[in-house]
Symmetry: C2
Subunit: 204 residues, 2 copies
């Protein structure tokens, strides 16, 4: 029974390739990534990529799916919770995103730019739109502020929360902010954004 258990170090070849692919795709984007880069990053041979994943395209779609799920995974459990107030929902969204992006800062810029570069790859996502539009969150928003389109508030919340991470490559290249200082500001924002969004919600 204990014969061939061997603790899977999740360093299986397949996982090694996926990890390398995450890193290289995120850094350079799909088009600029060569399969050789991924193989080298994984310390493996090029042929293995095709053995495990058939093609560069298929491997990318796998990684991309992961990323999109991570990005929407923050929203999904919050939007339709009947037991939380509108204000609490917005706070949760801000805090959860900042916590996530502190670990994976390039997530939103990666997903958004790949969608832009190749919208064809994102055909049948129409459902997501309806899902958000019919959410309890949006209903609460409309009830509280029937005078404005709910997207005005959603864009402001997400803008304040996600934009710093999207613009981070610029901050870095411009040398205006170090890694540590940035993380500190983001930690602060977890309290600031809910406060500020509440001001906006109440303003008439």
């Amino acid at each position: 029974m204990a014969k061939k258990i061997k603790i899977e170090q999740d360093t299986s070849t397949e996982e090694k390739i996926k990890e390398a692919a995450r890193k290289v795709f995120s850094k350079k984007g799909y088009a600029a990534t060569r399969t050789r880069d991924i193989a080298e990053e994984a310390g493996l041979n090029l042929a293995l990529l095709n053995y495990y994943f058939r093609s560069k395209e298929k491997l990318f779609e796998l990684i991309m799916m992961e990323k999109v799920q991570k990005l929407f995974g923050v929203l999904a459990p919050v939007l339709n919770n009947k037991n939380t107030s509108l204000e609490k929902k917005m706070e949760l969204i801000a805090i959860n995103y900042i916590d996530l992006l502190t670990v994976i800062p390039d997530l939103p810029l990666f997903v958004l730019s790949e969608i832009r570069n190749n919208p064809a790859r994102f055909g049948e996502k129409m459902q997501v739109g309806k899902l958000i539009q019919n959410s309890i969150f949006v209903k609460q928003l409309i009830k509280k502020r029937p005078d404005l389109h709910p997207l005005q508030f959603i864009m402001s919340l997400l803008g304040m929360t996600l934009f710093p991470f999207i613009a981070r490559p610029l901050f870095n290249s411009v040398g205006v902010l170090g890694q540590k200082e940035f993380d500190l500001l983001m930690e602060q924002r977890k309290a600031l954004i809910p406060k500020w969004i509440n001001l906006i919600l109440k303003s008439k």
Copy 2:
């Protein structure tokens, strides 16, 4: 004197190529763009690109320079104006950006993602950082709110203003918003953002 004047239709071959390059680079990013795409878009031959611009890289750098200047061109004239209040500056930034991006919506996502994909191309920009940090705008911000890092407010202003345009490819692919409706919301935001940012500035 009126011999060979001929109204330059700015349809010179060189300009045709640049226009096509703007379009294709913006749509697909540097790496995914083939010089053949640009030539075809311009209705011209591939060899002309190299005749006029030496290489794909040189042509791209030209376009990129234009785009970066457009993006920072909104900030530059506002930041060091001694005759405008902090509040007025923020209003101008929001309004000018929305007006600009209504015409060139993909500008910020293009610039940010290319910087991310190839930070090496943006080496000696350190000056820009200092220029912003020493601006009158930042001084006014620190004086008004010495309790918080000025970037907390700048990120919020730019996030609220730029994020809708950055996330637009997603909105489109998700089918949540039409072109016309989007433009209407942005027009509304020109009044909303200054109002909201003022609330944030005053909050203690």
